[in-house]
């Protein structure tokens, strides 16, 4: 099977994982991608979603709320704005994230009603909701 590569997951407040992985599935802004040993160097931004790591000790999943990933010859570093192991993703957490995205969307619409920022905020919100649905939590989508 595939060789292992270095894998780091860090958030601004702490470093969550620093170890090895054989494959990492990243929720990229332009679509999901799976990184294995020998992937070409790439920097991509993340959308809110689930990060799946296949390591020597099995598969683990993390919910991330955005950030970016750097893939180099040495390995993968994911710098997430917020990241939590999937088990710690509770109903309250996802609701908090969704509410926050919703507020941001509302603000964007109120303050500068231009397509750019509003669309971005709307996308963030729908990604958050999709993240919640994906991991089986009902995010109680607020009305837009």
């Amino acid at each position: 099977m595939a060789d292992n590569m270095k894998f780091d997951l860090v958030s601004p407040e702490r470093s969550l994982v620093s170890g090895e992985a054989s494959a990492v599935q990243i929720p990229g802004a332009d679509g999901d991608l799976t990184v294995m040993q020998g992937h070409s160097p790439l920097i991509t931004t993340l959308r809110p979603g689930v990060l799946t790591v296949e390591g020597p000790d099995g598969t683990t999943q993390y919910a991330v709320s955005g950030g970016f990933a750097e893939i180099s010859a040495e390995g993968v570093s994911v710098l997430a704005e917020r990241a939590l192991p999937r088990d710690e993703m509770t109903q309250e957490v996802i609701e908090g994230w969704v509410t926050e995205a919703h507020e941001a969307h509302k603000k964007a619409r109120e303050f500068n009603n231009e397509p750019g920022p509003v669309d971005d905020a709307a996308k963030l919100l729908s990604d958050m909701v999709a993240l919640g649905t994906h991991i089986g939590l009902d995010p109680k989508q607020p009305n837009l």
Binding site: V10, E13, D30, S40, P41, I43
Partner: protein
Amino acid sequence: MPNLKDLKNRIASVKSTRKITKAMQMVAAAKLRRAQDAAEAARPYAERFNAVMAQLAGSVGGSDSAPKLLSGTGKDDVHLLVVMTAERGLCGGFNSSIVKLAKSHAEKLRAAGKTVKILTVGKKGREQLRRDYSDLLIGHVDLSEVKTLGYANAQDIAKDLLSRFDAGEFDVATIFFNRFQSVISQIPTAQQVIPAKFEAEEGEGDGASTLYDYEPSEEEILADLLPRGVATQIFAALLENGASEQGARMSAMDNATRNAGDMIDRLTIEYNRSRQAVITNELIEIISGAEAL
């Protein structure tokens, strides 16, 4: 000569002061450890972030399409000083050293004919700056309700800064904080955050940087990351400041405790002396009374 009762009261009050400063010192020591851990935990993110940003900035920075956050507005007329201090006092020269640095900076800029605006984070800095620069203060961030500093706090400050920048309120933003060196030494530091400056860490590895693919485009990633960069830098500064504050308080309270101890010793000697004097006096009175008979 103060009478015995006064001295006794005085000793009692200094003793309770010493108890308080001792307790504050121990609390600060415990908090310092936590603050240091937090600063430690945040380091990998900031380091990697800066490495990536330096690379991106290097490849995009030269072009005309570089975002304003990186290239600046093309002017440097209006400077915003973000002065980060503590919410509480009793931490030695911690607050005043930051304020002093910010003031000398402000004076230099004003002498050069620039406009200076000041945004304060933390109550103590605001109080000190209000005396001389009340007309320059444009805002204040209150962190007194915050128990543990989180990235969200830094994000809020960054958002405030960015919206002011977008509104054209300033051209250059500099943050002032204390870099944590050790418990007894904190270094007041000024760091420019807008336009962003990233020091490329050269000399590591083979030197030739890897050619990365970008998804989406380089410019889009940069536009997305720059605001985060501001938040990351502010977060790092807040954490450094937090650790410095506890360190400064710890050594200030250590000094205070020692001083209180010295004072108690001196007062006790004085108390004993005057007690003896009183006794001697009484004896003399009794003896001379007996002699008179």
